[in-house]
Every structure is written in structure tokens, then in C-alpha cells.
Amino acid sequence: MADIVLDHVTKRFPDGRLAVDDANLSIADGEFVILVGPSGCGKSTTLNMIAGLEDISSGELRIGGKVVNDLAPKDRDIAMVFQSYALYPHMSVRKNMGFALSLAKRPKEEIDRLVEEAARVLDLTEHLDRRPAQLSGGQRQRVAMGRAIVRSPKAFLMDEPLSNLDAKLRVQMRTEVSRIQNRFGTTMVYVTHDQTEAMTLGDRVAVLRSGRIQQVGTPTELYGRPATVFVAGFIGSPAMNFVPATVEEGELRTPLGAIVPDERQRRLLDGWTGAAADRRSLIVGARPEHFEDAALEQAKDCPGLRFTVTVDVLERLGSDSFAYFTLAGGQARTADLEELAHDAGTVELSGKAEQVVARLDAASRIREGEKAELWLDVHQLHLFDPDTGRNLDAPATA
């Protein structure tokens, strides 16, 4: 086992494209770190560089304190689980799992013992003599994991290992991955584009966007204090709502209504500098759960913003309800938000008006197509600089 350190690691492809730009990340021994981001953000390239499957253009990669930039994958002692599983189709499950050990010239009895042990942990014992083609998707996935754990490597690298499974199995295997990591306590780097997976699995999560690490932190930190509009919009489902706002006469003027900032927000606005600060325009972010039906007990008499909208669509999930409504008065626009929209494929859908979603208590009596009064907990609002995309609350370091 070992720690993994990325020290100003950069990857430039031969065609000049910058895939990973000055990545700094320190993964402690035994830690479970997730790299998450939309497709093309450089997360898989980063993982491949750690594995040694991809050259590092500049910077330093250290595993267990040793610089491994120029080491071939076979000399790094890391195991990897691929999105396609990459099981050798001409070998039995037993041979697949023992392949690395046999390449390392370990004695036959030891290989058998380790393989059988891993098979027991993963419930694969009765499939040991089958070929990968004879297994179901979930079983193949477990063989791929088994191939990694038999080696007791310094680290596990996982490249979207669950994305080829159907939704139900994916949830099941997610727990399995957690269980394995707890059991072996091996350093694990896990790549995914699924923010739910990232939030539920990792000790820490690194959010990447266009080759740059946006923020590294625990799931709670990322959710509660996103450093940028991008992180705020990427983490959480349904996503955070963003509306444009201006600061006038000490008030935040938004399409939802005028908001009087609380003390924390006022302090942030006072310390805010830059071109956007001079224009006094910013982006306000509100998570869906910070809205409520103003008629309900929870919202009654609470300080906050009350406003009336027409609910376009109401989704009742039983446990709670999602109310969708549109706000006239322009859209919050930044490069970050556009990329998020691209990733979600909603670029064409959102027109001029701003779409907002609110999560309401199941007890709400609001109806689709009717006017409703909603309440917003203004203390929970996030304030972002529209030019840099940074949270005013985030430490001003790159």
C-alpha cells in the first residue's frame, strides 16, 4: 500500500490538445479518492497516467514516495479495473484472476490459494472454471475486481467500473466496492462521470473540468461549499438553480425578488473584488431543497423570501415533490454553466427564461398549472462571481 501524489502533472497530446493541466492531488495511503467530471474532462487520462498507460508530459507522479514517471505499468505494482472489464476471453476466470501472479512467477499453490480466497470474497467460487463469455455482466464485473484484489497491489485504479451495469446492479455493486475497500484498506482511485457514485463512495472527491481540478474535498464539503459554479451545478441531483442578480442599495435583486443579505453574505459582498464586483452583478445559487411550499408548517413564520410563481410541472415522488417553474428576467450565464448544460444535453431546451426546480414536502397541496406561493431559505444561498465562476465564499487560490 502506498500514497499517490500528483505534483503539477500535465498531459499534452501529440496534437497539442491539453488533456490534463497542472493537476495537484495528494492521495493518502488507504484513502478512497474519486475523480469525477463530465466526459472529456481528463479524469480517465489522469487515471491512465497513474497506471503508466499514458505518458506524463510534465510534472511528477510519486507512488509510495518514489517518482514513477518513467516506470512501465508492470513495475508500478498497481491494479486496474477497466470500464470494459478487459477480461481475457481465452482464459478461464481462474486464469484471468491469476494472470498477474503467474507473470510475477509466484508458485502455483500460492496463486491457487489467493485466487480461491478472492473468489470466495466475491462469491465467484463456482464460476472459477468458466470463460468470461459464459458470465453475466455483474459476474464479469466481479471477476475484473477479483483480478485486481488477488494481487494485493499498492493501489487500485478503477475506470468507470460500474457504468456498463444496469441501474439496479450498479447500486448493488456500489456497496460491493465500498465493502472491498473497507476490507482491504487499499488506496483507491476511482473515475466516474456519475456524481451520485462519487458522493456515495469516496472519502474525498476531485471534480475535474476541461483538464483542470476544480475542487477537492469530502462529499459534504463539495455539496455544502462548492468552490465554483461548475462544482455547484455538477454535484447534487436535481442540480442547483442559478439566477442572475445585481446588488443595488444593499439588496440582492433577483428574478425571484429582492433579498436582503444576511451578515455572512454581506461580509462576502464587501470583500468581493474584480470586474464583476464593479458591475455589481453576480450569480445566485439555490439548491432545490431550500425551497418550500409557503403554506406549509415548516415555512410558516420563518424568515426568508416569499414569492409567487406558476408551477409548470409538478412531479410527485411520494416522499417529496418537485415543482418546476420558469422565471422571466434573463438567464445566469457563464462558461461553467454552458458546459454543464452541454454535458446534460439541455442546451437547446433552455430558452431565454430561467428554469427553476424546487423540492417540496409531500404534504404540499400545490397543483400543476396553478399559481403557488413558495418560500426560499435565503441563508443557504450561494453567491458566485459570473466572470470567474468562483464562489465568493471560496478561498481565493487557484
Binding site: G52, A79, A86, Y88, L103, R147
Partner: protein, 295 residues
Amino acid sequence: MTTVTSAPAAGPAAARARRPSRDRTALLGWSAANLVIVGMSLVPLLWLVSLSFKTPASITDGSFIPQEWTFENYREIFGESLFTRALLNSLGIALISTALAVVLGSMAAYAIARLEFPGKRLLVGLALLIAMFPQISLVSPLFNLWRQIGIFDTWLGLIIPYLTFSLPLAIYTLSAFFREIPWDLEKAAQVDGATPRQAFLRVIAPLAAPGMVTTAILVFIFCWNDFLFAISLTSTEQSRTVPAAIAFFTGASQFAQPIGSIAAAAVVITIPIIVFVLLFQRRIVAGLTSGAVKG
């Protein structure tokens, strides 16, 4: 597995009644067409088989089925060194060329399918050019050149041009097979601790074996089939292959065509082809069409 007995989707009753009969007509039509195809493909071959079993007296009777059957033609050609030696030459030359083409072709195809290096596109273009090259354009210079360097009328003198013309075929077919092997498998082997050599020998080569068999069959058929080089670059029994030798068969008299012997020889050299086709039909089809269609 749940099996659901598929009831016909509810629709107008008339449409439902008409459908099976139309389907049956279509099926019958296609089946009949297929039967015609089978007949058309086999008749010329059966005709040669028939000729080869005819007696000299009945060979010019024009009948599709022999009136009198005899093995005389086969006994005769196997008694003559002109044929037996040619058969040996054909086999030896085709097998050696095939082995060399598969080995050299695999190396180049692996590089083309898997490695990044300058000059790769040029190589692919060159191979395509050779595949389309008119062989006759090489006959004159090779004829002269081979006599000068002393490999005219030798096995080597035929193996070299066969290798040249089958290499593009081998490279195309094999690189299509190599490309189909998931790139991730090689990465997995690397991460599992394999050297490039081990990754090739223990992961890639076993998976490419079907492709190599296919390629070997196609190359063998190509070499076995050649006539132009065989008659141009040989002059004696020493290295003449069967297709060329057949053209030198002589009849009992100066004017009689040795039809029976030619037919028997023709049937003999068709046997390996039939065996290949029967055993490896699927592979041959896969090989012939690989690279021709981009998936």
C-alpha cells in the same frame, strides 16, 4: 428465461390472413433462387469430375454423366512425374509462401493496427497499391532478373513473387482481426505486469489465432491458384506447379487432347480447396470481407 408465446398483434383480420401466405411465397421464391445458385455453382465442377471418370472412348460423347466409369485417368496422372512432381511443387511452394506471409504479415499488421509510427499510412498505401498491381507488369522484369541471379525455375523464384502479392492480403486481413481485439486487453496485460512481448504472446496472439488461420487459408488459395507466374518463371518439372503443368499435358497422339488426364488433375487440385471451404467456410467469409466494409 421467460418464453412468451407471441400471439399475432391484433389488427385487421384481412391483413392477418393475407400475411402468412405472402411470407410463404417470398420464402419459396428465395429458396428456389438459392437452389438455382447452388446448381449453378456446382455444375461446372461436377462436369470436370464426370470427364475425369470417363473412358478415352466415351470422353467425346458429350454426355454430362459418364456412360462407362474408370479410374484410368487418375492412375495415369499419378504414374507420371510431370504431375506428381508438379503436385509436390505446388504444395511445397504454397505452404512455404503461406507460412512466410502469415509470419511477416502478422508482424506488420500488428504494428499497423496497434502502434503509432511515422510512415504507417505510406505503408498501408503501398500495400493497397501492390494488391491492385497488374502482375503481368512484373513478369518481364522478373523473368530477366531471375535468370540473371540464377533463381529462374526454382521454388524460391516463385515463392518471392507469391509472398509479395499475398502480403497485402495478409496485412489487411490480419490488421482487421488485430483491430477487433479490444485495446483494453493489452492495457490490462500491461497493468498485470506483462512485458510487451508477454502481452503479445499470451494475450494478443491467442486471440488473433483465428485470424491467422483465416489469413493462411486465403493466402494458400492465392498461391495455389496462380498461373501467370508459374508458366512465366519456370521452364522444367523442377519447379513447375500443377496449373502450369496441366497446360503441358500431352495426349496419346499428337492431335488427341489429353482431356481425361487434365480433368483428373483438375479434380485433384480442387480437393484441398473443397476441404478448406467445408471446414472453414465461416472464417473464409470473414476474411474475404474484412476490411472491405467499414463497421
